[in-house]
Amino acid sequence: MKTQTTNILEVTGTVLNIQRYCSHDGPGTRTNVFIKGCSLRCKWCGNPESIRLKPEVSYDPQKCDGKKCSICLKAPFPEGGFYFAEGDDSKVKVNWQLASRVSSEIASLCPTGALEMFGKTMNVGEVLDEVEKDSSIYRNTGGGMTISGGEVMLQPDFAAALLEEAHNRGINTAVETACNAPWSFLEKVLPHVDTMLHDLKLMNSERHKKWTGVGNERILANFKKAYETFPDIDFIARTPLIPGVNADEEHIRAVLEFIKPHKNVIDYELLPYHRFGLGKYESLGVVYELDDYKTPSDEVVKRFQVMIDEAFGRNK
């Protein structure tokens, strides 16, 4: 069911960022294509700039020249989008609602780079031309392209076209997903996937809803169906470990139980939580709710790892 190559190349989507030389999301050295738009609202989210589907402006006050510059207080910037707080003209303040009208052309007028756009519209050809630049290291390491998000499954046509074109160019494919999307979307994407990294954040649906905004019934059903429908995909389960949320033995056991019957789930990875998204929240005018949480200790991670290795029959 190969579509015409020319068509594939012209399919467009919103790309947040293309990052080369990644080594954590799938086998070998990879290029991660981050696409925008997410249907979960995880309170610990490290990539808040990936949540909205459309390109959006961000603001880094550290770079702002304040009164000296003042360019964003005038047209073509939206009136009232940027202003000075009383008695402080060293940095502009942002009215996020009004500022959301700023386009990438307008943002580029900011001379200090304090205003920057997150995300841009790209077509498959443009993305793959960038991804293909590292073909040599993919061949050396068994690496390839990983589409990450945001939620990959929310741009199913774009994701499917990216993956198919990667295969056309001999590039291994992976997706990183939470699968909170209709099965019909997944069905488009998964035929072109070699490795699927998927998050099992919380196994209890109510708690899942509390921390991510939605229950996990559809997600778990999607996983099961995917395991069964696509036996050739290497599935890797993952949990972002957050103390007080899911960094407990019970969760690890539940996940292991869930994946146990499926031989094509080849691994379960733990991602100890870090607060690295912190600066980005400020840049986007979003309140970060999880400020108090700490990184899980090495001992805890090690203990869970032993459980996982046992379940996979790996003796260390």
Binding site: S23, N47, N140, R275, F276, G279
Partner: protein, 806 residues
């Protein structure tokens, strides 16, 4: 070849690392000091030998210097030194006395004897030194004074100080002994048909005999000194040690070495004689470990040595290599940081194409890792056949933060050698090509057979600056280059590029033409007999190395600022001609004002224009075009070749030592966003600091595409690694994958500098300079300078646990 039996009395050494520590401390606490012994002896010998052919005159001076120089033996059981004290340095007025004038060496002499020697040197060589003599001929032949070209910083000339000379065949001496070589040379001399064309050969052989006997004499003088000291020594252990030194030096280099210690002693005495004859950067040590391996193996079998003892001897040798120095004035010090380039090559191929790594290569890494001293620089000649065990060790040493070994690509070295020499007069076999090793710092030589005339360093950053100023240098306020047109009048980018090529050609013409005159003068009156004896081809041809005796030649022309030129031209192409963000007159005004005042925004505009290192196809192609232009300009000079013959194929190197700092000082603001006085980019393929923002693979893939690593005789790239990259399994694998991928794509050289947390703190203070710094912890990665300051601090605190570049 047959070998002497293992000599146990000199071979057995006692490992004494506290002694190594004391010697290292002595090295560190003894300031470098000018030793006037050399010019004093020269003043006494030179007048009395004026009637001789120059090659004999130089040999006799060498002989007298060896005979009369003051010797010392300290705790190091490997003996030999250039000057008469630890860290003493000789001066070499034969090249240029300008710095002696500038730094008042006569007035500043400490003793009357020194004052006399300095006065003689200054007066005599002011008239006869290489640089003024070359200038005189150049002006007569080409009709203009080259000095402003050097003053402007368009070219760093290599005529004012002696240059080193390739990988000398010390192994021949410790395998065959000088006595055997003396016999051979004597027979060749006697066999000469005494007609005019053979006269110069006769003199060369005569000088050779004087020189080799002097080298043996030096060893014997050390033996005498050791015996004298032993006679007075009360401590029995020390006495035995001194007697072993005496026995060693009575035997080598006259006879073939009988064990590892004798081979190492012989190696060093031969090396120090090369430095005494003509000090300089670039006497590299080739595959030292592999050459010593047969001695090591035999000693091991005979129970005379052990891995620890072998490593200990290497430590003592390396201490010695750090005692050598030179000084030709403050400017040259800035130019190359008194680097000696005594590079050791590790790994590589055997003549059959197998992995050549020797056990001694491991011990060399151990010794260097113990000492952490600048000399000798180590190079891992990477091949796909290299063992993982060896690479692990290499990574361990890099991980300590000493910036070495550097990696070079064994396949590229081989192809380069075949490209240069396969159709030379001598020809080149595949077997020999496989043994190509590091010459000087980054370039590559056929070991023991390569002459290495020096030419100089063209500054491509300055070429661009002159292009933008119609050949006028704003700093000197003087017309330096040709009038290539006012950029304001250029209708398109290609017209600008043509002007750039004109300035480039002028730069190459001046550089090579005067360098060739200087080389021709060296052939006549600064011949190097000892160097020639150890350079393949010279003995057979009866011809000294400057005079064309070597089997192969490469050229030390070290191209600096290629990336600055490429980035700068690309910025103009985009900003002025394509996107029309700024007009040429405005850009020129901004550059002239050094981006100050109303032109501050232009600096940012320039800095953000497309830059090398981001794997942008158009940029990669353009950088390659700039490098091809310099290559072509090099070949255009007098129809190519070198000063000896049009038929000796040669090519420029491209690497910086530390000259990008000096060259940056004399180069004004550039359209790259570089301000006046700021350093140029280092290496030939490193990114301008802070401008490669697409990660490591983007940098190496840009580098692989942007310069022909086979056509050029060197390319050079430095890369930063986060502090703990090499402390995790995955991090180490990533580094090796990067090296392999770069080399699969014909990359030639990559050197990793491991960052420490101080640099992260520096990046917090000056984020604009560190935009390329990427950190990654677990599932999330980011540019360090974009992180929230609290998070940055967390990263700094965590670097010791789980740091890894994304």
């Amino acid at each position: 070849m047959s070998r002497e039996n293992v000599n146990k009395s000199t071979g057995k050494v006692t490992v004494d690392n506290p002694r190594v520590d004391r010697l290292k401390e002595q090295l560190r606490s003894t300031p470098q000091e000018i030793d006037n012994e050399r010019i004093r002896i020269m003043s006494e010998v030179y007048e009395g030998t004026s009637g001789y052919q120059q090659i004999l005159r130089r040999a006799k001076f060498f002989e007298q210097l060896i005979e009369r120089k003051r010797l010392y033996i300290d705790e190091n059981i490997i003996v030999g030194s250039m000057a008469s004290t630890v860290n003493g340095i000789y001066t070499y007025p034969e090249w240029n006395v300008q710095w002696m004038k500038e730094e008042n060496t006569v007035e500043n002499s400490k003793t009357e004897e020194d004052r006399k020697a300095n006065k003689w040197a200054l007066e005599y060589w002011d008239k006869w030194a290489l640089r003024p003599r070359a200038d005189e001929i150049f002006i007569k032949k080409y009709g203009y004074d080259p000095d402003p070209v050097y003053q402007a910083g368009l070219v760093a000339e290599f005529m004012s100080w002696p240059g080193g000379g390739g990988n000398l065949n010390y192994p021949r001496v410790y395998n065959e002994g000088l006595a055997g070589m003396i016999k051979e040379v004597g027979e060749r001399q006697m066999a000469l048909d005494m007609r005019l064309p053979n006269a110069s050969k006769f003199y060369f052989y005569e000088a050779s005999l004087i020189t080799m006997n002097a080298v043996i004499r030096l060893a014997h003088r050390y033996a005498e000194l050791a015996r004298d000291m032993a006679a007075k020594e009360k401590n029995e252990a020390r006495k035995a040690e001194l007697l072993a030194i005496a026995e060693t030096c009575e035997w080598v280099p006259e006879h073939p070495a009988r064990n590892l210690r004798e081979a190492i002693q012989c190696h060093f005495l031969c090396h120090i004689c090369a430095e005494i004859e003509q000090v300089g950067c670039g006497y590299s040590e080739a595959y030292l470990g592999q050459n010593l391996e047969p001695f090591y193996k035999r000693d091991l079998e005979a129970g005379v040595t052990s891995p620890e003892e072998a490593t200990y001897l290497l430590k003592l040798l390396f201490i010695k290599l750090n005692e050598i120095g030179y000084y030709y004035g403050a400017k040259v010090a800035l130019q190359n940081s008194a680097d000696l380039g005594q590079s050791i090559s590790l790994g590589g191929f055997t003549p059959d194409g197998e992995d050549a790594t020797a056990a001694m290569d491991f011990h060399i890494l151990d010794a260097a890792n113990y000492l952490h001293l600048p000399q000798p620089p180590l190079t891992c000649v990477y091949t796909e056949k290299m063992s993982g065990k060896f690479l692990e060790k290499v990574l361990d040493v890099i991980g300590t933060g000493i910036g070495m070994p550097q990696f070079v690509n064994g396949n590229v070295m081989m192809l380069r050698a075949l490209n240069l020499f396969a159709d030379s007069e001598k020809g080149l076999t595949l077997e020999k090509a496989r043994r190509t090793c590091i010459g000087a710092c980054v370039g590559s030589y056929i070991p023991y057979e390569t002459g290495h005339p020096v030419e100089g360093q063209p500054n491509l950053g300055k070429v661009l600056e002159l292009t933008l100023n119609n050949g006028y240098d704003p700093r000197l306020k003087k017309q330096i280059g040709p009038k290539s047109g006012n950029p304001v009048d250029f209708k398109n980018f290609e017209e600008l590029y043509t002007a750039f090529e004109k300035q480039l050609q002028f730069c190459e013409d001046t550089l090579r033409r005067e360098a060739w005159i200087a080389s021709i003068l060296c052939a006549e009156y600064l011949p190097v007999t000892w160097r020639s004896l150890l350079t393949g081809g010279c003995i057979e041809k009866g011809t000294e190395v400057w005079n064309g005796g070597a089997n192969y030649y490469t050229v030390a022309q070290i191209v600096v600022g290629g990336i600055d030129a490429a980035n700068g031209l690309m910025a103009i192409k985009k900003l002025v001609y394509e996107d029309k963000k700024i007009t040429m007159p405005e850009l020129l005004k901004a550059l002239a004002s050094n981006f100050e005042g109303e032109y501050k925004h232009v600096e940012k505009m320039c800095y953000e224009a497309p830059k090398h290192g981001n794997d942008i196809p158009e940029m990669n192609r353009f950088t390659r075009r700039v490098y091809n232009s310099i290559y072509q300009a090099f070949q255009n000079v007098e129809g190519g070749g070198n000063y000896i013959s049009k038929d000796i194929k040669s090519a420029p190197d491209a690497y910086t030592k530390s000259i990008h700092n000096l060259m940056g000082l004399v180069t004004g603001a550039l359209p790259t966003g570089k301000k006046a006085g700021v350093a140029l980019s280092d290496g030939s393929l490193s990114a301008m600091p802070g401008t490669d923002v697409n990660g490591p693979t983007a940098l190496v893939m840009s580098a692989a595409k942007s310069q022909d690593s086979i056509k050029f005789t060197a390319t050079h790239m430095n890369m930063k690694l986060p502090p703990d990259q090499l402390k995790t399994r995955k991090g180490r694998v990533n580094v090796l994958n990067l090296v392999k991928t770069y080399f699969d794509n014909e990359g030639y050289h990559i050197q990793f500098n491991v960052l420490d947390t101080n640099i992260l703190r520096e990046a917090q203070k000056h984020p604009e300079k560190y935009r390329d710094l990427v950190v990654r912890v677990a599932g999330f990665s980011a540019f360090f300078t974009k992180l929230h300051v609290g998070v940055q601090n967390e990263v700094i605190e965590r670097t010791l646990q789980s740091f890894e570049q994304h």
